[in-house]
């Protein structure tokens, strides 16, 4: 006869097993194979496909472009989202709930739809070029398919995401500290810089890590808009499908995976502490 404790343990393990086996067989095992493929070369195991990312000009350029784009997007998004989250928490205005819902909707869009929104705004017959053509006779800002368009597209998905992660931290700000600073004669700008920003800094670092991870691994958005620039995820796709370089593509996938995993981890640990 097995004891009751034993039976309890068996029951708990039995409930866990289907989920664990599924993740093991359809995620861990494939990821291990992906890692092995990335280390495969004709002369035996080597890290040549990783060093290639840093040495092959086309790869290196793509890596640096992607990092540069993601850093720029992260910085601008943090500035905008700080404002937006403070407005959402502290300002009262009619239809606030509806407004919040509207600016959160892009979170449910696939990257390709985000790209399309940029085409609608800045494409050949986009809203901005059409309106400026009517007003000034010349279409302005036809930038959907340029680096600027890609930057705006990344802002489009980053701003809602970062704003929503920051709202909670803004809620927790102690307004009495700001009132104290104001009553001691500090201007709103000084209060913001010396009181609000330091209190928000863990949240900013954490949200920034999330934003960077999301930008680095974005694929659909860039795929819809990309013409001549190729961010790392898109390069990975073309290396795999067009050039049949599955080892190089796997190395890029692992690189992207490690980067996003690390930054997602930073987002969660710093976010929990803050």
């Amino acid at each position: 006869m097995i004891s009751r404790r034993m039976a309890d343990k068996l029951w708990v393990s039995g409930l866990l097993l289907p989920a664990i086996l599924t993740v093991a067989y359809y995620f861990i095992y494939p990821m291990l194979v992906l890692g092995l493929t990335s280390l495969h070369s004709e002369a035996g195991p080597s890290i040549v496909h990783y060093t290639d990312i840093l040495t092959k000009p086309r790869y290196r350029e793509s890596l640096f472009d992607t990092i540069f784009l993601s850093v720029a997007v992260t910085l601008v998004t943090l500035a905008i989202s700080t404002l937006l989250s403070m407005v959402l928490v502290r300002w009262e205005f009619p239809l606030k709930k509806l407004y919040q819902a509207l600016i959160t909707f892009p979170l449910s869009f696939p990257g390709v739809v985000v790209g399309f929104m940029i085409i609608i705004l800045f494409g050949r017959t986009g809203v901005i070029p059409n309106v400026t053509a009517q007003l000034t006779g010349r279409p302005l800002l036809r930038i959907a398919y340029t680096n600027g368009g890609l930057f705006l597209a990344y802002l489009y998905f980053s701003i809602p995401k970062v704003t929503m992660t920051m709202v909670g931290s803004v809620h927790k700000l102690d307004m009495r500290l700001e009132e104290a600073a104001r009553s001691l004669g500090a201007t709103p700008a000084v209060t913001f810089r010396r009181v609000v920003l330091p209190a928000l800094s863990p949240a900013l670092v954490s949200a920034g890590a999330l934003c960077f991870a999301t930008s680095m691994s974005a694929f659909g958005t860039a795929f819809t808009l990309a013409q001549n620039i190729s961010v790392l995820p898109v390069l990975m796709y073309t290396e795999y499908t067009l050039s049949f370089q599955i080892e190089a593509a796997s190395a890029m996938a692992i690189t992207l995976g490690v980067i996003t995993l690390l930054f997602n981890y930073a987002y969660r640990t710093i976010g929990e502490r803050g």
Partner: protein, 263 residues
Amino acid sequence: MRRWGPGRFLVLFVVVLVSAFLIVPVFISIIGSFSGYWGLTMFEKGLTLRWYAYVWENYSHTIKFSVIIAAATVMIDILLGVPAAYALSKGHSRWSTGLEELLSVPVAIPGIAIALALIQTHNYLSGSWLFIVVGHVIFTMPLMLRAVTAALRTAKLAAMEEAAASLGAGRCTRLIRVVVPNVRDAIIAGSLMVLTMSLGEFNLTFFLYTPLTMTMPVGLYESYASLRLEIGSAYTTLFLLFTLPLMALIQYLGSEKVEGRGF
């Protein structure tokens, strides 16, 4: 505090600009889907429903397919995720948090990396709708797990379970008749989240689909590549009809964080 200095107006200006940037194109896309010809103006050739007919004729299969995939994904997530969350809440805290972390890893890995890995190991599934379901389950199960685990942590189930046990309820009965009803709201919230994620998933699906297993976002990409804004708009509007009510419901239920979505 409520004085409107120049700083406050600057903030207002930025907020209005950014909000317009996020919201306006969605409405333009809905309006433009009725445009007879979208050139320099939208309605010089009148209003039409032609593009909806076109999209329905060419892409209705992607809509049906996406709904089937999303429904299957939710069901599998519930069947795998709810028992696992319950087991994790019973287990020793040290290894159960470790296991929870492990089961949550896929959500932090880019979809394209998971897809490239799946292609190398499970390509025999290629062409089957199951291939896409597998990808979506791996990618969404952490969301279900997290939603239910959080609810289990706050629900005071131990006493209720003991009471049920003392009345002779077995383990399975307790799980189905006591635990599940108490975390029903979390299961519903998790399901809505998973539905939204699955319906909108592109990055992973794009690597796994074949012409016979095309989902809505993949079809959307194809329609955008044709560079016809009217068609893209009509299709996008149909897509929004599916996802926006889900998003509204998620917000109504109070979970505003949508995590783990890659763009």
